[in-house]
């Protein structure tokens, strides 16, 4: 694996951003990170169960994407979905309570970590069968084209989801029918414990774009503004020309695949090298070095965010379990609906 250069200067997209927007994006990344650290602790204490997949290291992608979206646009994601929900403005309390399996959770406790949905926030899920959300996302885009509502669907998948059939079929239809959708592969180098050399016959995932009749765009994540701009271009192509795009973003996850994975499979020095080029740390540096903020100021922000997430955990913990009969709700809708 090519390791990033830790001494690289701050990316142009980041250094040319204003203080306010940098601070905003930084704070959003920080919120995701602290949310997940809080969740990880709650998992260790047995407050959260099931599978818990952390997004730490990839935050700039969710935050940058949300910056590029318009109201009505949709995010469709995998089980690694906390970052998108928070970036889209879902309430941290409700997200945390969902993972605690509580009545106050985002979907009332039925979904857990892998199934975050909040329609009004453009958070259209949260799917846990690898690849089976690609046709769904194409379907949202189909509906947008059918209804002429101008909305764009942005669908995320992992590098490990590229080989599976539903991904291929969804992309084939999106390309064939010119659907207003953006597929974003977050290439974090691993599919569970398997590095991508052992899952992909061709390293460049966008080499598949021509077969789908799509434009491809491939880059290494640097900061949220770069992501905003690159995904923004794809969103524009979808909205204005009704053309799908296949974006591949090279990124890295700092934690294991899920909480039960110690991630022993990493190469020597790999984690450290990626940590040194963590987009979150870069934003931190930008605030300190370019925007004259102090360590104390940033710590104060961190304290605020930590307090928000502690409060979310407290809220979740104090919330009641769902009513026993809630499990029978939302199975069948009565009437013509």
């Amino acid at each position: 694996m090519d390791l990033p250069d830790k001494d690289a200067p701050l990316p142009e997209t980041l250094s040319s951003a204003g203080k306010d927007e940098t601070l905003h994006a930084y704070r959003e990344m920080l919120r995701i990170r602290r949310f997940e650290e809080t969740a990880a602790r709650a998992y260790t204490r047995g407050k959260i169960s099931g599978f818990l997949h952390l997004y730490i290291g990839q935050e700039a992608i969710a935050v940058g994407t949300s910056l590029a979206m318009q109201p009505g646009d949709r995010i469709v994601s995998t089980y690694r979905d906390h970052g998108f929900a928070l970036a889209q403005g879902c309430d941290a309390n409700a997200c945390m309570a969902e993972m605690f399996g509580k009545k106050t959770g985002l979907v009332g406790g039925v979904g857990g970590s892998m199934h975050f949905f909040e329609r009004d926030k453009g958070m259209w899920g949260g799917y846990a069968i690898v690849g089976n959300h690609i046709p769904i996302a194409a379907g949202h885009a189909f509906a947008s084209k059918y209804l002429g509502d101008g909305a764009v669907t942005i669908c995320f998948l992992g590098d490990g989801a590229v080989g599976i059939g539903p991904t291929h079929e969804g992309m084939t239809l999106a390309g064939l029918w010119d659907l207003p959708v953006v597929f974003v592969v977050e290439n974090n180098r691993y599919s569970m414990g398997t590095p991508l050399e052992r899952t992909l016959p061709a390293a460049d995932i966008t080499s598949r774009a021509p077969g789908y009749g799509m434009v491809g765009d491939r880059f290494t994540v640097e900061d949220p503004f770069q992501v905003r701009d690159r995904i923004g271009a794809a969103i524009r192509r979808a909205r204005e020309e009704s053309q799908p795009t296949l974006v591949e973003i090279l990124t890295y996850r700092f934690r294991g695949h899920s909480m039960s994975d110690p991630a022993k499979y990493r190469g020597k020095g790999e984690l450290e090298a990626f940590r040194a080029s963590d987009p979150f740390e870069r934003a931190n540096r930008a605030l300190l070095e370019l925007h004259g903020m102090t360590e104390e100021q940033l710590e104060a922000i961190d304290d605020e965010v930590i307090a928000e997430m502690d409060a979310a955990a407290e809220f979740a913990d104090q919330s009641p379990q769902p009513d026993p009969d809630y499990r029978f709700e939302n199975i069948m809708i009565e009437g013509e609906g």
């Binding site: 979907v107 039925v110 329609r119 690609i134 046709p135 769904i136 379907g139 064939l176 013509e336």
Partner: protein
């Protein structure tokens, strides 16, 4: 009353609903330009255009998923599987997305979609093309499952299915598309979930659905004529939810039950029927419930072998005699 073929009844149901609601659209392989593999959609492309009659590539998982995704946005897709055999490659979309999304999203999204097409054996298509998917889909909570045997039922139930806010599996039959029957000119709907007594009777309850309905009716005829047995033929019409009430009422009257089933035996819809009947009418049963099913094998192409593998009126008649202890 005018008579229609089942394929025409299906077409009229789709046409009327597409006129009524511009969110309804039809999608599948060869449904448009080719006018449908079995001509159920003949003329619809011309009437509604390519936007609403959508030809797809061979991508069952893809277009099933597109349908589900579109339904979540408020559209009302009718997804035609050229036959339900090909839904096997889309199984995950139906099991994990169509059936679960309403529940899994805490009710934020609904999936008003119909998956329709011919099911079960046709004539000499071999093992991969002759399967009944009844049991697979009826097993899954979150779905409704309908199976029709007459033009009247086909039209009334398909219209209800299209308007239903839940995902509906709608089984037709290649062998029965040309069956004719009366269909009123006025609009009507048949509620999902109601069985229909296709022939009243007193001695034995004979349960059937889809392709086994004509078999059961012929068997009832034979039984009347040759065995002086009066069979009450109940067409389930809906497999999920089952009209348990109607079934049990008949069983309590006849005390004997035969199930004629176009499907493999193990864990079939008939097994579920037996379970409910023995549970809810144990003290009324005068004989074990008998099931007449497909042979428990992959189907053979050869005409004689296929014929032997499918319940014939004579087989059902024999079962009627058996539960009435006539042998």
């Amino acid at each position: 009353m005018p008579t229609l073929q089942i394929r025409e009844a299906i077409r009229e149901a789709m046409r009327e609903e597409m006129v009524r609601d511009d969110k309804v659209f039809l999608m599948g392989e060869e449904v448009g330009h080719y006018q449908g593999a079995y001509k159920c959609s003949q003329g619809l492309l011309e009437q509604f255009g390519e936007k609403r009659v959508v030809d797809t590539p061979i991508t069952e998982t893809g277009f099933a998923g597109v349908g589900i995704g579109a339904a979540m946005c408020g559209l009302r897709p009718i997804i035609e599987f050229m036959t339900f055999n090909f839904s096997a490659v889309a199984f995950d979309q139906i099991l994990n997305n169509a059936a679960k999304i309403h529940h899994m999203t805490g009710g934020q999204f609904s999936v008003p979609i119909v998956f329709r097409g011919p099911n079960a054996a046709a004539h000499m298509l071999g093992s991969t093309h002759s399967q009944a998917f009844d049991s697979f889909y009826a097993h899954i909570p979150g779905l409704k499952v309908v199976s029709v045997a007459t033009p009247y039922d086909a039209k009334g139930l398909l219209k209800s299915a299209i308007r239903d806010p839940n995902p509906v599996i709608f089984f037709e039959s290649e062998l029965m598309y040309s069956v004719r029957g009366e269909v009123p000119e006025e609009e009507y709907l048949i509620p999902i979930g109601e069985a229909d007594i296709k022939r009243p009777g007193d001695d034995v309850t004979l349960l059937c659905w889809g392709q086994s309905v004509p078999t059961a009716l012929a068997a009832a005829e034979l039984a009347q004529e040759h065995s002086d047995l009066s069979a009450e033929v109940i067409d389930l019409r809906t497999l999920r939810p089952l009209d348990t009430e109607a079934i049990i009422a008949s069983v309590k009257k006849t005390n004997r039950v035969v199930i004629a089933e176009h499907g493999w035996p193990y864990g079939g819809v008939g097994a579920e029927l037996v379970d409910r009947i023995q549970r809810l009418a144990f003290d009324w049963l005068d004989a074990p419930v008998a099931r007449v099913c497909y042979d428990d094998i992959p189907f053979a192409y050869a005409e004689n072998l296929e014929h032997l593998s499918i319940p014939q009126p004579e087989d059902v008649h024999a079962a009627l005699r058996q539960v009435a202890y006539r042998d």
